[in-house]
Subunit: 307 residues, 3 copies
């Protein structure tokens, strides 16, 4: 099977079969990172550009390691050292990069829709590594790989997503992916941090965290964007933590074998307590490991590989 | 034939035979970037350092991709993350890098002459990737490759260079290269942005853009350095655009098959109108593609390769 | 022989046999950087992360070149472009990186002990590339390689270390390493820049530079951290230079064949005069060359290589 699309922009239009293809491919790549020689020649001579308009450690590093383990050439461009400062438009930057004949461009951008602009303009494959509050499909795919790995299947699970759903690209991509795969999704958070008409995305909304966690198989905690707190529409960290922090006590409301996830970086003591983050139900670090495998799978499939 | 020089610092002392050698070599490298596997083992084990004291996307990325497609190891140093902040002199930084045994050092520096200091100090090959308002030889070489590709030859063509000629390293290198290759060059721009005694470089000076474009085969538009406008010697963008923007109407003054070039990043609506930048006579993106080929050719020739 | 330790955090607990092993291994790697093809496949498929929380040119570049010459994949993370700005704890960053399965993490951090935290937390090998005012073991190892190369052996030599000993990780690592190898070490500098009870580290303390240099075989000048001068406990540069600058005249107090070392970047005219820095007794650039060899040796040994 091959992935019959040029770009990975979001999960809103991914079919269950496509998600399965990506997850299956990633399963076969997981093993490479456990070898002594963590490198295969699969993508030799392929050029991957990581175009990051926002600071990032984990996502950029994950894509770079994924590319290198497949023997692709990875070229990093970050807005802090690039001529983006010279005020070039995004589409001119994109056309310029296209003219250097990369095969895949990975882009993170603070504006929703930026990857879609590139995808329309360029003949190359585009991977969205996070666009504003819109989508972060590779994060949702690695989350689903982690869930499938731990639970055997996604179909029929109850997944609770807790936090600032409104501004979270991680939440949005996961809602699309998880509902497509047959999970039932409950979202929970302060009313002011819920997107309008979120129910239309096929999710249940709860304002009380205990209710949201009841019978949950999977809990995805979202990062509280502390930098937003300067705007007054936001609760204080202390207030937020009192109502929505995943403590050990709160975790007891979920199923005893529920797994706890977080896209990182975590704010210890705000959205998640340290004992839960480091506890036996946490799969946060396995998510990171699966992130490399998912990105290897996507680079491979977009370069024309088959599973 | 081999390139019998250690460094590429500027085109002021390049012979026509040398320019032909570089362009011919670049022609053979153009094809590599069109392959599925865009990589040849030619420069395996060669170390290229990209030492950038100014922010840059296209030039640094172009050199990095060129190095990697030849299997060289590319190491990037940008002033924003280096100990340049600790106040080390340029020559001490250079001698330190030399001691790590790179083969080629690519340098961009805000001060004219910086690459020449390195070339005198170091046994390694130095490539000037832009030094202040002085020279940018790889840009002029890729411009000439583009012209030759489109027009068959450079000899006998009329080339108009329009804009802030005084502060433009692109203009300076192109004037040297194009006159050496037998083109006739006309420069045009506001009087205050013309270098003194520019006629001595063998060019015609026009202050009226229509006159400059008459019978032109090639038009090279220069980037307006908007950051200079804070100094009062500078016209406003609106004033500048009214007189020196390459619009479709203005373009009609040139030959019907004239090609339009720009080193990028472009200021749409200031020195060039969007319809011209994206129009059928524009070869701006082909310039970028040729940039990778020119840099591959120079790395190859400086590492001792022969054509 | 193999290096029987997971990490290289400092030289305080290195045995003479271990130091000899590293130096002997580095000797065999020195030659690779003198070849036309400066690359061996030894560490193919090994991932090295350079995690730098402080700006650096020479150390980061040296590690990156060392990794690439051994065919390892090098991934750079600098605090200026990473999510360190998002306030993640060091241990969470470390666990996240661990989950991406690197083999070796090289860390520079402004806080003493940061590499030790990583070493305890992670299964991977950690190399300390400088932690606060604590240790900089790879610098001391390359210093010792240089001394051994020039003097035949370290045992029995008199080494003078001059400058801000109190804040110098270079001094601290060299004191540990050199005394372990049987050198006699004298430290010298302004009283306020001497660590308390430094004699307990097995060194002689002199406040007069002439006395410190008497009969010295090796002089290690420390970098004056000019940025510290804003605090009032610090002498002015002029005052400092008058008493502690290594001038040609001052150098005459040492043995005629004494070698002059400096970790760089140097402050010309402050701790060392230009004629001495560039003079026949200076081995400052050979130190840089040996730095690449030492880092190749450490990467090789930590990856399980044997000498």
């Amino acid at each position: 099977m091959i992935l019959e699309r040029k770009d990975v922009l979001g999960l809103s239009d991914f079919s269950a079969a496509e998600i399965d293809l990506v997850l299956d491919t990633a399963e076969t790549f997981r093993e490479i990172s456990t070898r002594t020689i963590k490198k295969v020649p699969t993508l030799r001579g392929i050029t991957v550009i990581n175009l990051f308009y926002e600071a990032s450690t984990r996502t950029r590093t994950s894509f770079e390691i994924a590319a290198k383990r497949l023997s692709a050439d990875a070229v990093n461009i970050s807005s802090s050292t690039s001529s983006v400062v010279k005020g070039e438009t995004l589409s001119d930057t994109a056309k310029t990069l296209e003219a250097m004949s990369p095969d895949i461009i990975v882009i993170r951008h603070p504006c929703a829709g930026a990857p879609h602009i590139l995808a329309r303009l360029l003949s190359q494959s585009i991977i969205n590594a996070g666009d504003g509050s819109h989508e972060h499909p590779t994060q949702a795919l690695l989350d689903m790989l982690t869930i499938r790995h731990k639970k055997g299947a996604i179909q029929g699970l109850k997944v609770a997503i807790v936090g600032d759903v409104k501004h979270s690209r991680v939440a949005r991509s996961n809602i699309h992916g998880l509902t497509t795969m047959g999970a039932s999704v409950t979202v929970c958070g302060p009313a002011m941090l819920m997107p309008r008409a979120v129910e239309r995305m096929g999710v249940v909304v709860e304002t009380n965290m205990k209710d949201a966690l009841r019978d949950a198989d999977v809990i995805i905690m979202l990062r509280m964007q502390l930098e937003r707190q300067r705007s007054h529409v936001f609760p204080s960290s202390r207030e937020y933590a009192r109502l929505f922090c995943l403590t050990r006590l709160m975790l007891e409301n979920a199923k005893p074998d529920a797994i706890v996830m977080h896209p990182g970086p975590i704010n210890r003591g705000i959205e998640i307590s340290p004992d839960v983050a480091d506890g036996p139900q946490s799969v946060i670090l396995e998510q990171v490991t699966n992130g490399v495998a998912i990105r290897m799978a996507l680079l491979y499939l977009l370069a024309g590989g088959r599973q």
